[in-house]
Amino acid sequence: MTRDDLARTLRGAYTVWYRDVLSLVRDKARLGSSLFMSVIFLVGIGFGLGGVIGKVGATSGVGAGTAGVPYVQFVFPAMLVMTALFAAMQSTLSIVWDREFGFMRKILVAPISRTSVALGKVAGGVTVATIQVAIMMLAMPLIGFGFHPLTYLWMLLLVILFSAVMTALGILIAARQKSTQAFQMINMFVMMPITLLTLGSFLPSFGKGVLATVFKAVSQINPASYAVDALRQISLGSRLPLAMSIHSAIIDSLILLVLFVVFAAPGVLLFNKQD
């Protein structure tokens, strides 16, 4: 690829990205409903369920020695991941919508490469997800996280990485889907389990028994569980009971990076395939 090609690919990607972001900014209903969902999460689960659960890690044997973490703080990283997950899903759904309503044809007959389109879509999904998460993070000082700009920056970088993984996965699924119905079918089999598994990380413990073991094992293949794990460690630091983290944040990030490549590479290739 020459320098010229690269410049053209990036310009094309920028164009696709620009439209996605512009659309989001103008789509007040979508922004509003995503904020509403965040508030429901925070109040309903964070404080509601938090009132029942109390502190996480203080009384259980594994967390002995630490003061424990308020449930709302424990669950907040999972809420951020959930928000990013939904935003990324929405963005990839827009590819199929665009195709169904002819808009994608317009992009595909324009003199920009398919790679540009795929990259622009990933960038668009990431931006939209990150903006929504960033808005949610404004609540962090209010729920006792204090104000640590560097921590917040790390968290945002992780959210960017995670939403890139999910958007890439979405594009891989959407690349060859002709109809919204077909996409939603496949989406159900991929996104529903991921959503449910991510909901699992709202709980401080799965308890014991066969089911818990199965759930834990399955969580290993859920990209979101690595994002939650890393975000928890970054946001709570040493206050997080040791036994409640799976890997170090670095390992989590590396796994996410690998997943991104695993999803993005075939996604872009499939997108480039012409009928």
Binding site: R11, T15, S23, F101, G102, K106, V109, A110, P111, Q274
Partner: protein, 328 residues
């Protein structure tokens, strides 16, 4: 050199052959139309020419660029107006245009001049800053025309451009297209199943079941079907019939008047009137000429009619579809 050159272009989907060894040329500045029923292979052909679909075999070139090997150059040379809207409903008209300008890398200065000029032509200047959501079907189509022409394409493709639009809007859209053709030497390729739309074309390819069954100017196609039908009403039809027969015309009585087939009906009428005036009691009360329509041409060539009913059902589905799309 023709602007569009197509040789034995073929596309199969599995067992079915959608486009079957189609060949034709379109000269610079020509308006060329594909006329045929739904499923005849019109859209498949357009999709191949626009680089959206790979040909199974055969070749095509646009503006001198090969549709398989020089896709980027082909894409830069063409503008498209599809049957389905390609607007982002969440953006304003102007933002849609800006997006288009970015896609085609139109320099900002050129963009502003061209967009202003085209918006002026389609009379959308005042409304372009509103959300596309609020646009009527006709306004959307006019905005699409602006987009199709924004990057100074050599060829404009129109895939059923006026489907679901009212006759007045259809007429206006054709005014715009022919205006730009005359001013800039634009070559136009369109598909349609509307006969009146096909009349605008310089040449028509009639396509049925993936094959071109005839390709000529609308007038030549109609002449090929047969002559004009001249209908006469006279003071005494029986006497007039006798006079015409002895005058060498092969006329017949339809009960409501006399009918005869002749090559140029408009030129035949003065002769007929003079002939009948010379005879007794056969004064001509009225005369009319009916040229064969493209409908007649299609029926003659394929043995079937282009079923308008089927088409309008599809239109209705389409507009419902578009309506749902507006709510996303």
């Amino acid at each position: 050199m023709p602007t569009i050159e197509v040789r034995d272009l073929t596309r199969r989907f599995g067992e079915a052959t959608a486009v079957d060894a189609v060949s034709f040329d379109v000269a610079p500045g020509e308006i060329f139309g594909f006329l045929g029923p739904n499923g005849a292979g019109k859209s498949t052909t357009i999709n191949m020419l626009c680089t959206l679909l790979k040909p199974t075999s055969g070749t095509g070139s646009i503006n001198g660029f090969d549709i398989a090997d020089q896709q980027d150059d082909v894409r830069r040379s063409i503008g498209l107006i599809f049957q389905d809207p390609t607007l982002d409903e969440r953006l304003t008209g102007w933002q849609n245009l800006q997006f288009h300008g970015l896609l085609y890398n139109v320099p900002q200065k050129v963009f502003e001049r061209r967009a202003t000029e085209l918006l002026d032509m389609v009379e959308l200047t005042e409304k372009v800053h509103r959300g596309v959501k609020t646009f009527s079907g006709g306004m959307k189509r006019r905005l699409e025309i602006v987009m199709g022409l924004l990057h100074h394409p050599k060829v404009l493709f129109l895939d059923e451009p006026t489907i679901g639009l009212d006759p007045q809007t259809r007429l206006r859209i054709w005014e715009y297209v022919t205006k730009v053709r005359d001013a800039e030497g634009l070559t136009v390729f369109l598909t349609t199943h509307y006969m009146d739309e096909a009349e605008v074309c310089d040449r028509i390819g009639i396509i049925d079941q993936g094959r071109i069954v005839a390709c000529d100017s609308p007038d030549a196609l109609k002449t090929g079907v047969g002559g004009d039908i001249v209908t006469l009403k006279t003071a005494d039809d029986a006497a007039a019939l006798a006079a015409l027969t002895s005058g060498g015309f092969n006329a017949k009585s339809t009960g409501a008047g006399l009918e005869l087939e002749t090559e140029r009906g408009d030129e035949a009428i003065p002769h007929l009137v003079r002939l009948l005036d010379a005879a007794d009691d056969c004064r001509v009360k009225s005369a009319s000429v009916q040229r064969p329509t493209l409908d007649d041409v299609f029926v003659r060539l394929t043995g079937r009619e282009i079923r308008e009913q089927e088409a309008s059902d599809l239109d209705a589905m389409r507009s419902m579809h578009a309506h749902h799309g507006g709510g996303r």
